[in-house]
C-alpha cells in the first residue's frame, strides 16, 4: 500500500483546524476531523493544532481523549503539535499548567513571550538544512526548555528551540499552517511513510 494517500486526522476540539487542513491537502493527504476515540482508528497520523490550550485541554478531558491520544503517540504513530498542540505534547507545562500527554521530553512554558502585542514573525536562526529560511509566526507562543537526550532540536529562534522532534513526535511553537511553506507538514508525512514500512 505504499502508494496510498496518507490519512491525517486533525484534533477538532477548537483552533485553526482549517489552516492545517489546507496545508495537508496541498500535499495530497486525506484529512479527517478527530473528536472521538474511534476517529483515531481511521488515521495514520495526527495533528494537534494551534488554538487555546486551556480550551482544548478541557475538551480532551470532557471527551475522554487523553488516554487514547497518548496511546496513539506511544504506539509510534506520527503526531505533530503546533503552539497549543506542542504544549499538549510536553512532559510538563509551566505558567498556568494544563494537563498534557507527556509524550515529548520537554517543558513547555505557556504564553512565554507575553500577550498578542508581543506576537511576532521572524526567520529561524539555526535550523536543519532541509528547513533553511524557515519563516516562523509566533502567536502568544510558548517556549520549550530542557529538551531530554532523545529530543532533536530542528530549529531555534533567539536561542530557544522552536521546532523539535522525538521519534514519531514533532512539535513547533510557531504556526507553519499559517504560511504557504508546507515543509513541516511534509516532515509529518515522511514520518508516516516511515511508520508504514513493514
Amino acid at each position: 500500500m505504499a502508494t496510498a494517500r496518507p490519512r491525517v486526522g486533525i484534533l477538532a476540539v477548537q483552533g485553526d483546524v482549517e489552516a492545517h487542513a489546507r496545508s495537508l491537502e496541498r500535499l495530497g493527504a486525506l484529512v479527517t476531523r478527530v473528536l472521538r476515540d474511534k476517529d483515531l482508528d481511521a488515521i495514520d497520523a495526527l495533528i494537534l493544532p494551534g488554538g487555546e490550550s486551556t480550551t482544548i485541554a478541557k475538551g480532551l478531558q470532557r471527551l475522554g481523549l487523553y488516554e487514547p491520544l497518548e496511546a496513539f503517540a506511544r504506539a509510534g504513530r506520527p503526531v505533530l503539535g503546533t503552539c497549543a498542540g506542542a504544549v499538549l505534547l510536553a512532559r510538563e507545562v509551566e505558567n498556568d499548567p494544563v494537563r498534557s500527554l507527556g509524550v515529548l521530553d520537554v517543558v513547555a512554558i505557556r504564553n512565554a513571550y507575553g500577550t498578542q502585542v508581543d506576537s511576532f514573525a521572524t526567520r529561524a536562526e539555526e535550523c536543519a538544512s532541509k528547513l533553511e529560511g524557515l519563516h516562523c509566526v509566533f502567536i502568544r507562543a510558548p517556549r520549550l526548555r530542557d529538551p531530554g537526550p532523545d529530543v532533536e532540536v530542528l530549529a531555534r529562534v533567539e536561542g530557544w528551540p522552536v521546532l523539535v522532534g522525538q521519534g514519531n513526535v514533532l512539535a513547533s511553537t510557531f504556526h507553519p499552517e499559517l504560511t504557504d511553506d508546507d515543509r513541516i507538514h511534509q516532515l509529518l508525512l515522511d514520518l508516516t511513510r516511515e511508520a508504514q514500512k513493514p
Binding site: 477538532a12 476540539v13 477548537q14 483552533g15 485553526d16 483546524v17 482549517e18 489552516a19 473528536l35 494551534g50 488554538g51 487555546e52 486551556t54 480550551t55 478541557k58 475538551g59 470532557r62 503552539c83 497549543a84 505558567n95 498556568d96 505557556r110 504564553n111 513571550y113 507575553g114 500577550t115 498578542q116 502585542v117 508581543d118 506576537s119 511576532f120 514573525a121 509566526v137 502567536i139 502568544r140 533567539e158 504556526h175 499559517l178 504560511t179
Partner: protein
C-alpha cells in the same frame, strides 16, 4: 528584539496581516464570553471559553441603564488579565482611537471597536492599520464587513442586536455576509467594480473575496446568542466562532450555560450533542422582540 515588539508601534505589510489574523485563526471553533469581574472570567475559562471580553456592564445592562457607555475601567481589565491565561479582549467606542491606544498599551489581546458602547465619532471608524493590536469590528452586511477590513480589522463579527437575547439580527447579518460572498462568484471580473460601488467597499477587497470565496479574515457571530442551539445555528450558517455577551451571565446558571454553549459550538455538526448541551439548563436570559425596539434603541445602527 524587545524594542521592535513594544506596544504603540504599528505593524506594517504582510507581517501585520499574518500576526493579527493569526490570533483570530487560533480562536476559531471557540466561544468568546463577556465578563465584568475576574470571578466571571475564571468561570468562563473553566467552562472552556477561548477568550473573554472585559467590560463594565454587559450589553443587557447598558441597554437598561442607559447613559454613555465607555471603555472599561483599567482596574477591571487588569484584574481580568491577572485572573486568566486565555486571551483578554476589550471594547472601545467607535472612532475612539485614544481609548484603543490605551488598550494597546495595556497589552489587551484584541480590541473590539464596538457599537455596544456609545460612539465617539459618528462619521469615522478607527484607522486600525496604525495599531499593533488586532481589532474586531461588527458588521451587518458584506459591504460593512469589507469597509472595516479596509480600515485594518483582523476579524469580523456580526453585530446582531447585543443585549437582546434574540438571535434574529445575527442570523440576518450572517445570511447577508455569506450570501453576499456567494453572489460574488457569479460575477465576471468587469462586473466587480460596480458591485464594489453598490457595497461601498474597496474594489480590491471585493475582487479578493470573489476569488477566494470567503472574507480575508475570520468571520465570527455575535449579538443575541442565548442558547446552545443559537450558537450551533450561527456555526451552521458559516460563523467560525461565537461571541456570547449577556447570554451567559444574565442566565439563571452561568457556569452550566457557559459549558453548554462551548459544547454546542464544538459539536454543532452533531444534533445529539447539541441536544445533550441543551438538556437540564435553567432559564435563559430574557429576550426582547425587535418590533419593541425603536430605531434609536438599536445598537446595530451605530457605525456605517
Amino acid at each position: 528584539m524587545s524594542e521592535t515588539r513594544s506596544a504603540g508601534q504599528a505593524r506594517t505589510g504582510a507581517e501585520a496581516f499574518e500576526i493579527k489574523v493569526g490570533l483570530a485563526e487560533m480562536l476559531k471553533g471557540g466561544v468568546i464570553m463577556d465578563v465584568t469581574t475576574p470571578e466571571q472570567a475564571k468561570i468562563a475559562e473553566d467552562a472552556g471559553a477561548a477568550a473573554v471580553m472585559a467590560l463594565e456592564r454587559v450589553p443587557a445592562d447598558i441597554r437598561k441603564e442607559g447613559g454613555v457607555a465607555r471603555m472599561c475601567s483599567i482596574e477591571v481589565i487588569e484584574g481580568i488579565q491577572k485572573s486568566v491565561s486565555i486571551p483578554v479582549m476589550a471594547k472601545v467606542r467607535i472612532g475612539h482611537f485614544q481609548e484603543a491606544r490605551v488598550l494597546e498599551a495595556l497589552g489587551v489581546d484584541f480590541v473590539d471597536e464596538s457599537e455596544v458602547l456609545t460612539p465617539a465619532d459618528e462619521a469615522h471608524h478607527v484607522w486600525k492599520h496604525d495599531f499593533r493590536s488586532p481589532f474586531v469590528c461588527g458588521a451587518r452586511n458584506l459591504g460593512e464587513a469589507l469597509r472595516r477590513i479596509g480600515e485594518g480589522a483582523a476579524m469580523i463579527r456580526t453585530k446582531g442586536e447585543a443585549g437582546s437575547g434574540n438571535i434574529v439580527e445575527a442570523v440576518r447579518h450572517l445570511r447577508d455576509v455569506m450570501g453576499g460572498i456567494r453572489s460574488l462568484a457569479a460575477l465576471s471580473p468587469d462586473e466587480i467594480p460596480t458591485r464594489a460601488k453598490e457595497l461601498l467597499a474597496p474594489v480590491a477587497l471585493v475582487q479578493a473575496v470573489a476569488e477566494r470565496g470567503s472574507l480575508p479574515v475570520p468571520n465570527f457571530a455575535a449579538g443575541g446568542i442565548a442558547t446552545p442551539a443559537d450558537a450551533a445555528l450561527c456555526m451552521s450558517l458559516g460563523a467560525e466562532a461565537v461571541f456570547v455577551g449577556s447570554g451567559i451571565f444574565k442566565s439563571q446558571d452561568p457556569p452550566a450555560r457557559a459549558r453548554a454553549v462551548v459544547h454546542a459550538t464544538t459539536h454543532w455538526r452533531e444534533a445529539e450533542e447539541v441536544l445533550n448541551a441543551s438538556r437540564g439548563l435553567k432559564e435563559a436570559m430574557p429576550g426582547i422582540e425587535m418590533e419593541t425596539l425603536a430605531e434609536h434603541e438599536r445598537l446595530a445602527n451605530r457605525g456605517w
